[in-house]
């Protein structure tokens, strides 16, 4: 089968396997991280048609026909001069520590900011609060999601 990742079709040899392993081990997209395998930690979050999906909870086959975005594919809007996506920029300015959870937080925030250009603190809690961070960067994440929305608004 073929998966649509970064807007391009990628041939998959083991479509029956969990998406997280197909992305990482078959396609080499290591920016999708395994953390728990039961959909709790959120490290493996990718976007399917712009919505967060825990890639340990679906097979590659189930994602046929969906547009997948991993951390590697998160780019600034077409035609923009910016190097980084607003969420990446916010996390560069105010970083986390080990970064294993980072892709999940970044992609979850990207989806939120896309949907809610001016998210409330409650919306940030509801969205980002579903992902773990063992290094304890929760207060940074709260701040960064709001900052990312601000950067996105400024760039418009």
């Amino acid at each position: 089968m073929k998966l649509m990742v970064k807007g391009r079709p990628a041939e998959v040899i083991h479509p029956e396997e969990p998406l997280v392993w197909v992305l990482r081990d078959e396609l080499g997209l290591i920016g999708t991280r395994y953390g728990c395998g039961i959909g709790v930690c959120g490290c493996c979050t990718v976007l399917a048609d712009g919505e967060p999906v825990r890639s340990c909870q679906v097979s590659a086959a189930e994602m046929a026909g969906r547009q997948l975005t991993t951390l590697e594919g998160l780019t600034p809007p077409e035609g923009s001069d910016d190097e980084l996506h607003p969420v990446q920029q916010a996390f560069l300015e105010n970083p986390l520590q080990c970064g294993w959870c980072l892709p999940g937080h970044v992609l979850t925030a990207a989806a939120l900011v896309e949907r809610e250009p001016d998210p409330t603190a409650e919306q940030v809690e509801e969205s980002a609060g579903r992902n773990l961070c063992r290094c304890g960067g929760y207060n940074s994440i709260r701040k960064n999601v709001l900052r990312a929305a601000e950067i996105a608004r400024d760039r418009r």
């Binding site: 395998g37 039961i38 930690c41 990446q88 080990c98 773990l132 290094c135 960067g137």
Partner: protein, 745 residues
């Protein structure tokens, strides 16, 4: 088969290792690489293992990781005509050491931050493993001066050479942003151009370089963009679980159903798709397959039989851990007299902390490529290359040699670590991958499942502490008798013979946070080392959090018994010593920021606690309420005195992270043993702190002097006690076991 890692940069890729014979050592132990016809300049400085844990240092020496000062170069700058590179001889696990080292180097090197490439050192470049060992919050404190010395030496050599090339005296050169400019002219030359144009060997300066006084710092103490973050944000950063190499396959390994169980028999087919490796003598059964999922399926189909091991449950483990005997660690004053001082109030209390996991979000992993022996070559001569997320590269190399042959050439690339907190100082995963790679003849990656990680850990051991103490009605502390007991921490990761450990009678890891910092007429501390049938070892701060929970809760109990304010009682009993003054200072600062003594909303209480670990004084004030049988933390204020703060933003993250991890231990974390195994298997049954339970955390740094001290662990010390003390204030209920489980209000 190519062993070039896909997408994995390593120091060895950029330049061949330089033969050691060509280096020479000056009296100041600054090392200069020979130029041999190229402009290449390599400068390194040897460092002393300047450990602030004397007993740990002793143990590490005994383990044979090297002399106090290694003759091998330990931090390297490499300058070529194209780039200026700092190879960091410590591993990056999120603590920010690559950034802190860059910052220290940039203080003495006239470069813009983006002109200094920062890369992870590995064992192929002459870095001895002992230096790469990253532990004990010691990276910045140990390297602060050696690194600046090396950087200043580079700057001095470049300046001298640039002056010669430009034909002007050195004092007419202005160096900034990687470029020398002749004063008052537009003549200039980039550092890299100076290196490229150099002919003949570089020579070390005759005089030691002068280091900037702290008053002239322009980098240290200010912020710098983290050097690891861009790669982490774009998906190019490589952790141990991410390591890839051509031709690799995936391994899975059978785990015993009970701690201590041994393999009696194992059977499984080897097919075109699956290699089965069974070594009963080694207690090893594993498989290699084309994907992780196929490897796990093949593992599940293996027939393995285990025997022996412990059948202990949590209640039995707790019963084994009773603090009533052991080695006397401290005996001061006349205890019977202090305990029966007229008018003094006697308080007795007993505290427990549970078995707990590290919960690093990147599970254990390793990639090992054992090259099959060449035809006709001696058996066991094939080269080994390994990519391991490890705090202790040296012990991984030793373990691989022991397993596969002492004469092997081994290159170990420390990868990024997705958290560790002490867990990734072990060799277990690298050994798994090495056994499988050697047997299968291909590179093998072993990445643990979360279930394996949680159920086959090297845990924070449970502790039990019993305290008796007296306090005068005016709040003066008189005598304390302390019995503490803990499972092993350091002994589990050292190779000291058992009789030596027995004679010592306690585990050095339990010393952290073991002693009350207050003035006492008499103080007796007895520590019991308990060999539990559960693997236990280093966890962030070692004994610091469990010990401080007991001691700082008990001080609160003494304050309550005397009817004194717990902050005032602490301040009144701290000694007039450097440590005492620093603790008093952070206590006052935290109390001030938190508004100690000001009114709180109904149902809320404040608690305070402090600790001093690795030279860093920490005080915390927390605000708590109890809702539906759970302590809810509304606010944490931490005042931290680590001496000198090198990277404020990084230090603040370390403090925030320590507090969040400490809150997680305080409120949630406990592993249960049943039939010799851990019951909890994943983050659904072993929850760790989430955003919803994370309060606003304010961190205030108190910079007391010019010496940087530990930042990775000390801040975790007071968290549990501060919360328990706040629960007492809020509800009147004194909780003495972690995690805190308040009665329903």
């Amino acid at each position: 088969m190519s062993l070039e890692p896909a997408g994995l940069e390593s120091a060895a890729d950029s330049a061949a290792p330089k033969p050691r014979a060509k280096r020479r050592t000056t009296r100041r132990r600054v090392l200069i690489g020979a130029a041999s016809g190229t402009g290449l300049l390599v400068v390194g400085a040897a460092i002393a293992l300047n450990l602030r844990r004397p007993r740990l240092a002793q143990v590490i020496q005994e383990r044979g990781t090297g002399e106090q000062t290694s003759p091998a170069p330990q931090v390297w700058f490499e300058l070529t005509g194209n780039a200026i590179t700092l190879f960091v001889p410590k591993v990056e696990m999120g603590q920010g050491v690559h950034t802190a080292y860059a910052q220290i180097a940039l203080e003495e090197l006239a470069l813009a931050p983006d002109q200094l490439a920062v890369r992870q050192a590995n064992t192929a470049r002459g870095f001895d493993g002992g230096t790469l060992f990253t532990f004990g919050s010691s990276s910045v404190s140990a390297m602060f001066t050696p690194l600046r010395t090396a950087a200043a030496t580079v700057q001095q050599m470049l300046t001298r050479e640039a002056a010669a090339q430009l034909g002007v005296p050195q004092d007419q050169l202005v160096a900034a942003d990687g470029r020398f400019t002749v004063s008052g002219t537009d003549r200039s030359r980039a550092f890299t151009e100076v290196v490229a144009a150099k002919s003949g060997p570089w020579e070390a300066p005759a005089e030691p370089p002068e280091l900037k006084p702290s008053s002239a710092f322009t980098r240290i103490g200010r912020d710098l963009t983290r050097v690891d973050m861009r790669d982490k944000l774009t998906g190019t950063a490589v952790y141990g679980y991410d390591a890839r190499v051509d031709g690799m396959r995936y391994g899975a390994v059978a785990r015993p159903p009970r701690f201590g169980a041994t393999l009696r028999a194992g059977r499984g087919p080897s097919t075109a798709d699956v290699v089965t490796v069974i070594d009963v003598q080694a207690g090893f059964a594993g498989v290699v397959a084309a994907t992780r999922t196929k490897a796990r399926a093949a593992l599940a189909a293996l027939e393995v039989e285990w025997e022996g091991g412990t059948t202990a449950g949590s209640a039995e483990v707790d019963a084994m851990l009773t603090a009533d005997r052991g080695a006397v660690l401290r005996r001061e004053g006349n205890l019977p007299r202090a305990m029966s001082a007229p008018g003094a109030v006697l308080v007795e209390a007993s505290y427990r902390t549970p078995l707990a996991a590290h919960g690093h979000l990147e599970p254990m992993a390793a990639l090992v490529a054992v090259t099959p022996d060449a035809p006709g070559a001696a058996p066991g001569s094939g080269r080994i290359e390994a990519w391991v997320p490890t705090q202790a590269p040296d012990t991984v190399v030793s373990a691989l040699r022991e397993l596969l042959g002492e004469e092997r050439e081994i290159v170990l690339h420390p990868t990024l670590l997705g958290g560790s907190f002490g867990r990734k100082g072990s060799q277990d995963t690298a050994i798994d991958a090495a056994r499988l790679s050697a047997a299968a003849g291909v590179p093998v990656h072993v990445g643990w499942t979360r279930e394996e990680d949680l159920q086959h850990g090297i845990y924070r051991p449970p502790t039990h502490t019993r305290l008796r103490g007296t306090v005068d009605p005016d709040g003066r502390l008189r005598g304390v008798e302390q019995h503490s007991a803990s499972g092993d921490i350091i002994w589990s990761v050292t190779s000291l013979p058992e009789p030596v450990r027995d004679i010592l009678g306690f585990d050095p890891g339990t010393l952290l946070g073991q002693f009350l910092p207050y003035r006492l007429d008499a103080y007796r501390v007895v520590n019991q080392r308990e060999q539990l049938p559960i693997p236990s070892g280093p966890w962030r701060g070692l004994g610091l959090l469990p010990n401080t929970f007991a001691l700082e809760s008990f001080v609160d109990e003494l304050a309550a018994a005397a009817g004194r304010d717990p902050l005032e009682l602490r301040l009144a009993n701290l000694p007039d010593t450097d440590d005492g003054r620093r603790l008093a200072n952070v206590l006052r600062r935290a109390a001030d920021v938190a508004g100690w003594g000001t009114p709180l909303a109904a149902g809320r209480g404040r608690g305070v606690a402090c600790s001093l670990d690795l030279g860093t004084a920490v005080a915390q004030v927390v605000e708590v309420s109890v809702e539906q049988g759970r302590a809810k933390v509304h606010r944490v204020v931490a005042a931290v005195d680590p001496g000198l703060v090198v990277h404020p933003a990084g230090a603040a993250l370390q403090a925030q992270g320590s507090i969040v991890m400490g809150l997680s231990s305080t409120l949630l974390e406990k592993l249960t043993m049943r039939d010799g195994a851990v019951v909890e298997s994943n983050f659904d049954t072993y929850p760790i702190l989430t955003m919803a339970d994370t309060p606003p955390i304010e961190v205030v740094f108190v910079a007391s002097d010019g010496i940087p001290r530990g930042m990775g662990e000390p801040v975790i010390g007071p968290v549990a006690a501060a919360v328990a003390n706040a629960v007492f204030t809020a509800t009147g209920e004194r909780l003495r076991d972690l995690p805190l489980r308040p009665s329903n209000p």
